[in-house]
């Protein structure tokens, strides 16, 4: 069933790809209708042609085999229904928001995010897991149409993907297997357990926009409401949740990771609560609410190891719907003339990261460039070689010049060689 839904999402997206700029809203409405039809068929189980698990052999080397796999697990099917409901709400919002210039493109991104969810939830090996996780980053990048928000998002997304990438590379190096089913064995052996756990935690926290990593999440406040809600509820934070649930075995092997996760989740809840009360911008309040919800979900997953994300996503459609309604009511109160312009608070986190990481890197880079490249290699090594060549050439020129000292020197060298060779011949 999930395979069929996956294929339908792709087909709907592809069908409207060549549509031009004219009547974009009408096309978006058509996309919404088609998605609704797919959702109804999926929920009722009618017209299901592809209902079994699907497997495509992607890498088939002797020592490494990877598959693209779409599951038919009932728990994941159930979770997908909630995601699908949230998708429909967001697509409706794409259509109704008059500030959304590219409703059709926004719909297509929502559909792709739906595909990414199915792909991530179905993952059975690292390759598919990482690919799906990166898909979330790429679609998130496409979704955000504000330069500053996009900038922050991609830097955090890249760092988190690299962290997960490195952690799973360690697991593969040690176990020789990319199957998620082999993670308990890795955790049991305890190879580099703190390193891998902390890397995964970094990736997950960064994706969920938790405390210390909230910068990129809060930058979404400058987007239009439909994109803001898609980014907050359906994009990277949701992937963070699924990733944690799939990789939590590795995190639990380390003694530090769970306490860190709990502390940061509690801090995130506190920070979001304070922000919710103090921040005067409505978009920011919606984001604080979303951040709080994801922090609670992560805390719950951290407190109860047997909990699964499928139970968490139940509240996804309600949350999206309620936030959208809250926004509509608030806009109505503000006469609905225009979305208020964002008042930019001071970006302390950016300043901290800039001071702690970027500036030292720049300084070291500058020193290396000037000291090693220019002074050591250009001036010392190449300069010395160049001077030596000049010296040798001028010496040779002098020796070959038509002067008595040069003649005397060459004659002395020749005599010396003669004596040496004769000596060698005579004395053996």
């Amino acid at each position: 069933m999930l395979l069929q839904l996956f294929a339908e999402f792709l087909a709907i997206g592809a069908l409207f790809l060549p549509v031009g700029h004219r009547r974009r809203r009408a096309w978006a409405f058509l996309v919404l209708l088609l998605t609704l039809a797919a959702a109804v068929a999926f929920s009722t189980g009618s017209g299901a042609v592809l209902s079994a698990d699907a497997e495509y052999e992607w890498l088939s080397f002797q020592s490494l085999r990877a598959f693209f796999y779409i599951t038919s697990d009932p728990e994941i099917v159930k979770a997908t229904q909630y995601v699908l409901a949230a998708m429909l709400v967001l697509m409706l919002l794409n259509l109704l928001n008059p500030r959304e210039e590219y409703a059709l493109a926004a719909d297509n991104i929502v559909l792709l995010l739906g595909c990414a969810f199915i792909f991530l939830a179905s993952a059975q090996d690292f390759m598919q897991l990482m690919t799906a996780s990166c898909c979330y980053s790429i679609f998130g990048f496409a979704l955000i149409n504000n330069t500053d928000a996009k900038n922050k998002f991609i830097f955090y997304a890249f760092a988190s993907e690299m962290a997960i990438f490195a952690a799973l590379a360690v697991v593969y190096a040690k176990t020789g297997s990319i199957a998620l089913a082999d993670l308990p064995e890795f955790a049991r052996r305890g190879w580099h357990k703190d390193l891998t756990a902390l890397l995964i935690l970094f990736g997950v926290l960064s994706k969920c926009g938790m405390f210390l990593f909230q910068n990129q999440f809060m930058a979404l406040r400058n987007l239009s409401i439909n994109r803001l809600l898609t980014g907050a509820w359906l994009a990277a934070p949701l992937s963070g949740l699924v990733l944690y649930n799939k990789l939590h075995v590795v995190c639990e092997a380390s003694a530090y990771s769970l306490p860190i996760l709990r502390v940061l989740a509690v801090l995130a809840i506190g920070w979001a609560a304070v922000g919710l009360v103090r921040h005067c911008q409505f978009q920011a309040k919606l984001l604080y609410l979303a951040a709080m919800a994801f922090a609670v979900a992560l805390l719950w997953l951290a407190l109860y190891p047997d909990a699964i994300y499928e139970q968490v996503v139940k509240w996804l459609p309600s949350a999206v719907f309620l936030e959208a309604v809250a926004w509509a009511l608030w806009m109505r109160r503000c006469s609905g003339i225009a979305e208020p312009t964002a008042v930019e608070p001071r970006d302390n986190m950016s300043a901290i990261y800039e001071t702690l990481f970027v500036e030292p890197l720049r300084f070291v880079g500058r020193v290396l460039w000037l000291a090693v490249d220019f002074v050591v290699i250009e001036r010392s090594l190449l300069g010395t070689m160049s001077t030596l060549v000049r010296l040798v050439v001028s010496g040779l020129q002098k020796i070959q010049s038509a002067s008595w000292p040069a003649f005397g020197l060459l004659a002395a060298v020749a005599l010396g060689m003669l004596i040496y060779n004769i000596g060698g011949f005579v004395y053996g």
Binding site: F61, M130, T131, M162, A169, V170, H192, V364, G365, L368
Partner: protein, 475 residues
């Protein structure tokens, strides 16, 4: 259809014939290099079709050299030209052709020295293809050195104001490298005769002569890779070249050395030479970090691309030194994607630079207005930083896993380097995307529809290389 037996000599010879045609093309008056350009494009596309034919007759699972063909040259000493390919070398040849095709699209509007550039580009293509199909030590040596001539000429033409110094460095390093490889080739020849590259790998060179041979081979190859202390000459050349095609051609220098290592390193080297491999790993990772940091602070886009390319070249070198067949095999796929990414990035960056110069303004914020350019540039950067949209992704994972498994500290440093190299490119992307009202470049400066279509095709090739590297091989 051409017989498979003649395919290899034909793909080496065709660019050579193309160069002759270009030489005879009319280049004055209204045509101003168009004829030369068209002949060059036609030659490269024809060769790509021939390459596709070679792929069709090749057994991709067979790791040995196939379609072997020998051309007698000298009887005393017994020196012949021997050709043969496997999937690895064929992928590199295809990457070379596609990269040059992308470079040609990048210089299509140039009128300055178009004809000589086309001639030397085709000569380079022929010699490099010869290098990748060479199946014995002498054939390898001949093409390894012959490809330097067009490079030298291209550098002389497009090396910028500092070209004299660059040419000196180019000559000095390559002359020493050539001398060392010549000595090694002679030593191998006098011990074993004119042997095939596959036999070189299987031969155990014991004793002092073995040390001499591998030191000479190693130094001659490594001098072409921007690893410390050889990085400076290559970096000074790559950052000064002001022509996208010339830059792309120069970027193949390290690749020839990487290829040389895969062909020459003996099978038992990973056990015997673990000490040297350890040293190369340490020096390699430090150089990567060093260059990535310099790329991070450098304002020149070209240097940033060079820094990124260097980080990846050294990573592939470390991958080859793992001795893992799976990794080496995958490096072929990864290099295919990697070279296409570098070429596309360079062409797009050169286009932006050109617009900048013409409008006498900064390109900061240009991508906000140029939607087509923004789309393809963003895609290429996303592919470059290692997201799963090209074959580079899987290979990064394999190399990283291997290095993290062997030495976690070196692996961690490698991760940091990849992050810095990726951040450098992202930084550049957001410089071009930043809101800037003073930027005078607008919608009209965007890339043309045809160029956009071509770049989408390139993106499609990259995506397919991720899904299935040999997707174009039917059956």
């Amino acid at each position: 259809m051409v017989s498979p037996v003649f395919l290899l000599p034909l793909i080496v010879a065709l660019p050579l014939f193309g160069a002759l045609f270009v030489l005879t093309a009319r280049d004055t008056g209204v045509v101003r290099g168009r004829n030369a350009f068209n002949v060059c494009i036609f030659t490269v596309i024809s060769n790509v079709i021939l390459l596709w034919r070679v792929f069709m007759v090749l057994n991709e699972k067979d790791r040995n050299l196939q379609l072997l063909q020998k051309f007698d040259w000298l009887s005393t000493p017994d020196i012949n030209l021997v050709f043969g390919v496997d999937t690895f070398s064929l992928l590199l040849i295809l990457a070379l052709h596609l990269a040059i095709l992308i470079g040609l699209v990048g210089v299509r509007a140039n009128t300055e020295r178009q004809m000589p550039l086309m001639v030397f580009a085709l000569l380079f293509l022929s010699m490099s293809t010869g290098l990748f199909v060479a199946a014995d030590i002498f054939s390898f040596y001949i093409f390894f050195e012959a490809m330097l001539l067009p490079l030298f000429m291209i550098l002389g033409m497009f090396g910028g104001v500092k070209r004299q110094g660059m040419l000196q460095r180019f000559f000095l390093y390559n002359f020493i490298g050539a001398l060392l490889l010549f000595v090694a080739t002679m030593l191998i020849y006098y011990q074993f005769g004119s042997i095939s590259l596959e036999e070189v790998r299987r031969t155990a060179f014991a004793g002092r002569s073995g040390v001499y041979i591998w030191t000479a081979v190693g130094l001659s190859f490594i001098s072409r890779i921007p690893i410390w202390p050889f990085h400076y000459w290559i970096s000074s050349i790559n950052s000064a070249i002001r022509n996208p095609l010339a830059f792309i051609i120069m970027s193949f220098m390290p690749l020839t050395a990487l290829y040389g290592f895969t062909r020459f390193l003996p099978d038992g080297f990973w056990d015997m030479g673990s000490f040297y491999i350890g040293i190369i790993n340490i020096v390699g990772v430090i150089t990567m970090l060093f260059i990535a940091l310099i790329g991070f602070i450098n304002r020149e886009t070209q240097y940033k691309i060079f820094a990124y390319a260097t980080v990846y070249n050294i990573m592939y070198l470390l991958g080859i030194f793992t001795g893992d067949d799976l990794i080496v095999y995958n490096i072929g796929y990864a290099l295919f994607g990697f070279m296409i990414i570098i070429s596309a990035l360079e062409v797009l960056s050169a286009y932006i630079k050109q617009r900048e110069l013409e409008a006498d303004t900064s390109a900061r914020g240009f991508l906000c207005r140029a939607r087509r350019l923004s789309a393809v540039y963003s895609f290429m950067i996303i592919a470059a930083v290692g997201f799963p949209v090209s074959a580079v992704f899987v290979n990064n994972f394999l190399i990283l896993a291997r290095l993290l498994g062997t030495n976690v500290k070196i692996g961690a440093l490698l991760v940091c380097t990849l992050v810095i190299a990726g951040m450098t490119l992202l930084q550049e992307l957001f410089r071009l995307k930043a809101d800037n009202n003073t930027c005078r470049l607008g919608k009209s400066d965007d890339i043309s529809r045809s160029m956009f279509g071509f770049m989408l095709f390139v993106a499609f090739i990259l995506l397919m290389s991720f899904v299935k590297p040999l997707w174009f091989v039917v059956g």
